[in-house]
Symmetry: C2
């Protein structure tokens, strides 16, 4: 399947210069890459912001292809759908690979810490500059769900509906795995303290492979790989290097990832994922209708934690619905289970139709 192409794309340079960050740093200027599906001026259902996850891009249809298109949930004839590459990423928005105008060199490891709050505030400023004052919904999974939740807290009057799938403040196991992924990158001598000219491929691939384990469920790995030898024909009993199939899969995922993502962006965004949190006083500010979706086999953001977040919201008077997708895909279920996700999102986005 070829993903639907955006109706148009645009780079929005924010007026706030320098752009000030929560952790105390600043960026002399920020540009955000936006991808539109549909037309913001004429969409009958208004504008929906669809937030990408850790390594996604503004092109929503590239990673949520089954949900975007005429007749689908995210129908560009009904809604104007916008994806905005997050601050700190490497797909068109200002991030570590961007040239720092003050030095003429990439920010690299000098890129300041950003939070989900910074990411969302930059999005809000970009949309404001485009004349968009209100969103019918903000939707996302994983770190995309963190953005949706942060929108609901920080801009309570700017959105009608907030949908977050597999997203809560990161539990301790997730903090642990993110830390180890960052260590894998930073321990690679090719990282060069962040000033690499070619990617720290071994470290970044290892980080991605650790992450892949946390995105999938043990049951899925058993079903898909079991104890089978690597499909290339290696016999793991014969040499230290010969692999089981699951190991070959992870190595392949790591190699692919190195070709498409930047190591310093990975460090910055995984840290933003770590520091996302939601205090009770913040939850009480929410005015949007909130829909939280848990993924039954997710062990990075367990469904029980998503359900507990819904309870915390209910306690402070937030109108919230919780639903759960039964899946073996683990955390990746938000990408891998479009058929199960669609009716739940439809019920959230079009309550009168469902």
């Amino acid at each position: 399947m070829t993903a639907m192409r955006p109706t148009f794309e645009q780079d929005v340079k924010l007026d706030e210069q320098p752009f000030r960050l929560e952790a105390g740093g600043e960026l002399p200027e920020v540009t955000l890459r936006c991808a539109w599906y549909g037309h913001p001026e004429s969409a009958p259902g208004g504008v929906m912001l669809i937030c990408h996850a850790l390594t996604g891009s503004a092109r929503i249809a590239d990673w949520w292809g089954d949900l975007v298109g005429p007749g689908h949930l995210f129908d560009p004839e009904r809604y104007a759908l916008v994806g905005i590459n997050v601050l700190g990423s490497c797909y068109g928005s200002t991030g570590p690979p961007t040239i720092d105008p003050r030095t003429g060199r990439p920010y690299a490891a000098r890129f300041p810490l950003v939070t989900i709050g910074d990411i969302v505030r930059a999005q809000a400023l970009a949309l404001q500059k485009l004349g968009i004052a209100r969103l019918s919904a903000v939707v996302g999974g994983s770190i995309g769900g963190m953005q949706a939740l942060r929108w609901a807290v920080d801009f309570p009057d700017a959105l009608d509906v907030c949908c977050a799938i597999g997203a809560t403040p990161l539990p301790a196991m997730g903090l642990a795995l993110n830390h180890l992924q960052r260590r894998a990158i930073q321990q690679d001598p090719a990282w060069q303290g962040g000033d690499y000219t070619t990617q720290p491929a071994a470290g970044l691939a290892l980080a991605r492979a650790i992450a892949m384990c946390s995105y999938k469920s043990a049951a899925l790995f058993d079903d898909r790989f079991g104890r089978h030898p690597d499909r290339s024909g290696e016999d793991p009993r014969m040499t230290l290097a010969a692999r089981y199939d699951v190991a070959g899969y992870l190595d392949h995922q790591g190699e692919k990832f190195v070709r498409r993502f930047d190591a310093n962006s990975y460090l910055i965004l995984s840290k933003a994922m770590d520091t996302f949190d939601l205090a009770a006083a913040e939850l009480a500010r929410i005015r949007a209708r909130v829909h939280l979706i848990g993924l039954s086999s997710d062990w990075l953001f367990p469904a029980s934690a998503v359900r507990a977040l819904a309870e915390r919201m209910r306690t402070v008077g937030v109108p919230v619905e919780y639903a759960e997708v039964s899946t073996d895909h683990g955390h990746d279920g938000f990408l891998a289970e479009p058929a199960a996700i669609t009716p739940l999102l439809r019920a959230a986005l079009e309550p009168t139709r469902s």
Copy 2:
């Protein structure tokens, strides 16, 4: 608590020279370090072999201290308890750090692949040389449990009881994590293809930290660390390097481990763990009474997989009991829950008393 000291220790050099290995390699000579608690000549309950896990040693009381001692389950006045450091380890038995008599240099990365079958056959030859023909039990957790199971299969007439805790052929998620741990070591330039003079500290520590995540449960991490900042006072929101408490814990575990374990031994033994498997025809050979114990929150060797192994055994006529320990400690429950493990092992080892 100071661990009970062994009654005596001895190094047993095997008569089989060279010692031939399942994967095709050989070792010119093999010596195994044995630690005894009690006296093999006079113990009324006979000799019990207690098998250590991946990074343990022959000194049983050093890692199962609550179970060993007068009046405890493993009472040296009742049984002669022997621990044997596994072939490939670095605690006294022939392993990668040992000098290869053919070259005068450590085996290092030239140490041949060993299997759990090789480890157990070497143990059997050592005990035979010591005049011990029969064991009242072989007991172990994790890779120690794999040894107990391999004993029951390969030496069906040599033992009365086999007790294995949290042990099955490694599921795909475990194969994945072991692979990533080996990559972490081998990617460290200090590994030097195995010919290091100082340990590849960063890689070995990262491997250990990945392993620690798999030994503990997410619930335990949440209870113990939550989202608290590192106890040294770092604020993880302020810099990329500043850590949450769980990250500080993992770093500390990694640093401790580098001081006590050899990287090449880790590679060899984690590979032995990978290749352990049990065919149905092998199970049918078992004559010992088998007791399998699952750990409720173990996600490396899930209790459901231990239970399924018991079912497979039952199907081929093996007398097997399955019991489960309810614990938040994950796989580490076999070490961390002595009070819960003791009565289950007692019922297995002393059926007439329980």
